[in-house]
């Protein structure tokens, strides 16, 4: 569903991502781990067409993001690490706006929005303007907008930040549900325990380079993911 081939991205003189290749198949939950500034966010932003890149290729469902970004974006949804939303809109209007962009039918949007809003416990707040929402509520609203149109690829940057334990649990369930329906989820995280328990596959990035990838079992071997991560980081330094 997502194929990144030899991705290289620079910010001026700084090499943010260096020849990175990953493939994520339908039905997989793929965790992306790395220290601050390792290149996780840049990779995700390139994958959803937010950032242009110097070399390499990214395919979403077999379509090049460079050649046909709009078609790729129809198949994916993206959630940044700190989702700023349109503060002036009430929550329900924001969700309806996103549904309009993805061309969702009335019945479908109505069903999906309310199912997800009930799941995250924010239905009663949907009439409130977003500027009255807490950080966690904004995160939940952004998650609803990411999942409601049933994308084939979900790209999430630090999705657990700001979520309460119940919401975090429900989001994991939603990620699994989406994968059961044939979607692929690619997310970055610093919470190694979550990655270890939730992901089918894991990639570790350091200094813009991929230093390990594979199934969760392959990456961690007989030790914990934390030990593997720390050891690889030390070696790389």
């Amino acid at each position: 569903m997502l194929k990144i081939e030899h991705l290289t991205k620079r910010y001026g003189d700084k090499l943010a991502v260096d020849d990175l290749s990953i493939e994520i198949k339908s039905g997989e939950i793929y965790g992306f781990i790395g220290h601050n500034g390792a290149g996780k966010t840049t990779t995700i932003k390139c994958s959803c067409g937010l950032l242009e890149f110097e070399s390499g290729e990214i395919y979403v469902d077999g379509i090049s993001i460079k050649d046909d970004p709009i078609e790729c974006k129809r198949r994916l949804s993206y959630l940044p690490d700190n989702p700023d939303l349109y503060d002036f809109m009430p929550g329900i209007k924001y969700l309806n706006f996103v549904a309009d962009i993805y061309g969702m039918e009335v019945e479908e949007r109505d069903k999906q929005i309310h199912k997800l809003a009930d799941m995250f416990g924010i239905t009663k707040d949907l009439a409130q303007p977003i500027n009255s929402y807490s950080h966690g509520m904004k995160q939940k609203l952004a998650l609803i907008s990411a999942f409601m149109h049933k994308p084939k690829l979900v790209l999430l940057d630090e999705p657990f930040v700001g979520l309460d334990p119940v919401a975090a649990h429900r989001m994991k369930e939603e990620m699994k549900e989406a994968c059961k329906d044939g979607a692929a989820v690619f997310f970055s995280t610093h919470v190694l325990e979550v990655a270890e328990k939730l992901c089918d596959k894991i990639a570790i990035i350091s200094g813009g380079k991929l230093i390990a990838s594979g199934t969760t079992d392959e990456v961690r071997g007989n030790v914990s993911l934390e030990e593997v991560f720390l050891e690889l980081e030390e070696k790389n330094v």
Binding site: L50, N82, D84, F88, I92, A127, Q128, S132
Partner: protein, 567 residues
Amino acid sequence: MSNTVSELVKIKITGDISSMISFMRGRNAKGQSFNIGTAFILAVVVIAFGFMMVFSFGISTVVGFQMKEKGCGWLYFPMAFVASGIFSFIGTVFAAQSYLYEAKDNELLMSMPIKPADILLSRMIALYLLNFIYANMLFLPVGVAHGLLFGYSLLTFLGFVISMFLIPLLVTALSSIFGYLFGRLIKLIPSKNFLTVVLGLFTILALSFITLNFGHILQTLMNDIDKVAYWAQSNLHVLYWYGLATNCYYTPVNLNNYPLTYNDIHFNGSYSPINFVGIIPITTITAAVVYAVSIFLSRHFTGIVTRKTAMKKKKYVRKKLKKTNIQLALIKKEVGYFFSMPAYVMNAGMSTIMAVLLGVGILLRGSIIVEWLPRMFPDASTNLIGLAVGSSLALSCTLNDVTAPTISLEGKTIWILKSTPLGAMKVFFAKALLAPIVCLPGVIFTAFASALTLKLKAADILFIIFIPILACLFSGFLGVCVNLKLPRFDWTNEITVIKQSLSVIFTLLLSMFFTAIPFTLAIVPSAYLEDFSSVWAYGICIVYFAALVLLEIFFLSTDGKKIWNEL
């Protein structure tokens, strides 16, 4: 002043200055500084300050001369004190709220071992400096004019210098407390956006009235200056004593036998040092007001800054959602954003106000235009009224800079538009169409007013409807083009983008310039050539604007798309 306070003042002032300069300098889409901006800012600042100072000097000289002639020179500085104070108050009262109570770092500073009173003091000092600039922009030329008209003694000069520091001090205290009260009041009102817009409109209309009638007001003041002086002398004792302390050109016959009669006014140019005592009451009152305000606000500062008004929760009622096509959804989003911010409406919605004012003017005085134009241009082969109204409406549309900050205003939410399946052109069109949406109500009103009052032909009516629409589209697309070239996403407050960004200033200037060209080309031949029909004039304008709009769309579909992808 403690080190903490001086450090906080330094941080506030340097932060404000660098943020203002950085915003006005502008950056292109790649984040590089736009060099022409620095010279441009300097020019704008010099022109604005220069204009105000020359204006103040001119008025002071005229009014001061009358005062001298009529022997009431004592009124000169009290009047300047009040005028500079009001000017400064209007200029800074809304800044007071954001400087003192809504500063983003208030909570951070209060979590540190700093006394709340010190934080407040540092903010008030910064506000004082702002008031000092505003007040003395008017008061300094007043002092120079006084020197030329009346001359100075050592004591009157000292009085002038003290006043330079006293006026901003009093205004700082008043705007601080007013800012606090206004903040409290607005939190009690459910529809504060509406209230702010109404208040803003009222202020604009009041200022427009004063500006339009300034000559008459000034003339009345000069004719009756002695009566004003007499009234003030009898009723405003503190100002009267202050006047005695700062001007030689009126010494009362007997200070102890006050109040004096109208006939007692003398003009002798003498000055007794005892007069200087008259500055004490106004200084004492200012000190008392500043002290009372400081004590009150420092006691309540923590409460004011951290107070959160409980918003009445809107109950969500599940209704059937409506599907809208993408373009309309984007337009609705832009319109929603515009009307959610009173400051945006007030700054960018001037075009509608101007168009409505024009319509009201035509309804009330339309017959004068009908009679006046043919007499003014006897050689004109055609009826100039349609062209005159159409061009005025189109020019009023150029005051519409509503789209100039729209790209920058996406700010940190730009990921929404860029990560979803939206073509850049859809986004550009939604932003550009905001301009006619905002302008059209005023244009249609004025078109109807003109049709009713000016007895226009069908062609004229069509022209005065279509040409402003084209002008609106032109300025709307222009705003998007300029903003794509000069976007800023590093703002912390939307007002900075709406009011200060280079994109807005450039759009306004370019829009006015390009709109003035066709009308000059159409009106001049229409007025002076016998064989130049109005159809030709209308044709020139319509083709010109249509071509400009097409050029803008071409730019957006080529370079504009590339820039959008790089943002």
